[in-house]
């Protein structure tokens, strides 16, 4: 397996507060890596370093090395828009644009180049199929995305992320705002996605991590405590703190 994203001694500060401490983590290609840990331990922060969404927050300082396909993500010359096209993101709360379903999906492709209508139609269809939403919305593509259910909206957001043909997908607790049925659909979708994409998912839900991920990384107050094959982390944790967490003793 090849490593697509790699963090070495990564530190991140929000002003004076250090949110990530010497994090070293390799993310293998076409696998699902789950980031778990109690609230406030830095999971979202780490995820957002990967597509540089932290750039939008004033006062953030980052040291250490973070590479994508061997290239330093925080290299001054790197084009952030290209990075974000390649490393897509799905947020905790479904956040479709207040536009039609079609325009939501076409938004990204339209940014990155002019496509003929037929090609765009095709891309929209493929993206929606990729997120297993096509059958539910194919007759109402021109209708507002705000009329979809929460679960459909989240799959729309996944389809939107797929529309720019990324190779990594970052997901920040994508099911925490959804009901169990919608959650199950998205979990099924995830095992489909890993055939073509590298997925990094933050989850609050340990059963979810156990069910869907290949590797699990456990964070605690900014420190990466343990990372390994999901089965190993859950059955024979090496660190006492991991064991306490997964057995529900805190968090």
């Amino acid at each position: 397996m090849s490593i697509i994203v790699s963090a070495k001694d990564l530190n991140l500060y929000y002003g004076a507060f250090q949110a990530l401490i010497d994090v070293c983590l390799d993310i293998p290609e076409k696998e699902i890596t789950a980031l778990i840990g109690p609230s406030g331990c830095g999971k979202s922060t780490f995820l957002k370093t990967l597509n540089r969404m932290n750039d939008l927050i004033p006062g953030v300082k980052i040291t250490g090395e973070l590479t994508y396909h061997g290239e330093n993500i925080y290299n001054g010359g790197l084009d952030v828009t290209v990075l974000r096209k390649n490393i897509g993101m799905v947020f905790q709360k479904p956040n479709p644009f207040p536009m039609s379903i079609y325009d939501n999906i076409a938004y990204g492709p339209r940014l990155h180049g002019k496509l003929k209508k037929a090609a765009l139609d095709d891309l929209v269809e493929r993206s929606l199929k990729g997120a297993v939403l096509w059958d539910e919305v194919k007759d109402r593509l021109k209708k507002s995305a705000m009329g979809l259910s929460g679960g459909q909206q989240q799959r729309l957001c996944i389809a939107r992320a797929l529309s720019v043909e990324p190779d990594v997908l970052l997901m920040d607790e994508p099911t925490s705002a959804l009901d169990p049925a919608s959650t199950a659909k998205i979990e099924d979708l995830m095992s489909e996605l890993k055939k073509n994409y590298t997925v990094v998912i933050v989850t609050h839900n340990m059963q979810q991590a156990a069910r869907i991920s290949d590797r699990t990384a456990f964070f605690l107050v900014g420190v990466l405590v343990e990372v390994g094959q999901t089965n190993d982390v859950f059955s024979i944790p090496r660190d006492k703190r991991t064991e306490d967490y997964i057995s529900g003793r805190f968090g």
Partner: protein, 290 residues
Amino acid sequence: MKAKAAVERIMGSVFFVCGMVTIVAVLGITAYLIISGIPAIREIGLVDFLFGQVWQSTASEPLFGIMPFILTSVYGTLGACLIGVPVGLMTAVFLAKVASPKVAAVVNTAVELLAGIPSVVYGLIGMIVLVPAVMRFFQLKNGTSLFAAIIVLAVMILPSIISVARTALVSVPGEYEEASFALGATKMETIFRVSIPAAKSGIAAGIVLGIGRAIGEAMAVMMVAGNVANMPELFKSVSFLTTAITKEMAYAPTGSLRQQALFSIALVLYVFIMLINTILNAFLKRREKP
């Protein structure tokens, strides 16, 4: 206990009476305008009045066609929007999305001051600075013109557009913009493709508010437009619906057809304003819904 209940009841009626004052004022004005505006229209004929192209109220065979005023008011307002809307919208975007908080505070103060300047001051500066400048720049005999009025109105409607559009832009949920950035959009792409469309009904409300202000403005326009009942041309002296009334009211004999025709102009203006308010309310209602 009893005293308290009495105070409650008295205060209740005081609020009620105050509320009624507004309603009575609106109904009274409406009724008065209709009653005093109808006779001249009857006498002149609705079509001749609205579509007549000549206004000669003092001729021995007087003509009362208000098309010149209607068109001037419409063109003047559109012209003001043509300049004021892009500038106002860009300023609102700058304040809401681009400027640092310090710079935004300074610009905001300027916008508030602009809103507070009395229209006579706009007119005065227009008259003393703008009109001569227009005359020299375009080599006209006379700088008082539709063009000068448009410039003054464009500046006057800026504050309404800016403050309403800014509020709408600020309240666009950050998640939309985050989603756009995460797809690889730049800041400008995000502003133009997500933030502005998401704020469009609020922005439209600001524009309609500006239109209302422009069409109802009399004083500033009076001082720069020349007040001649010409069919509108950019560099000709013109008269707006508002200024047609203010200019002649003092000279029209009480009860004369001329005076009644001025009331009819006021009625036409009132209908315009009502239309604009209805549109504005529609936009505001739409914005309340998610």
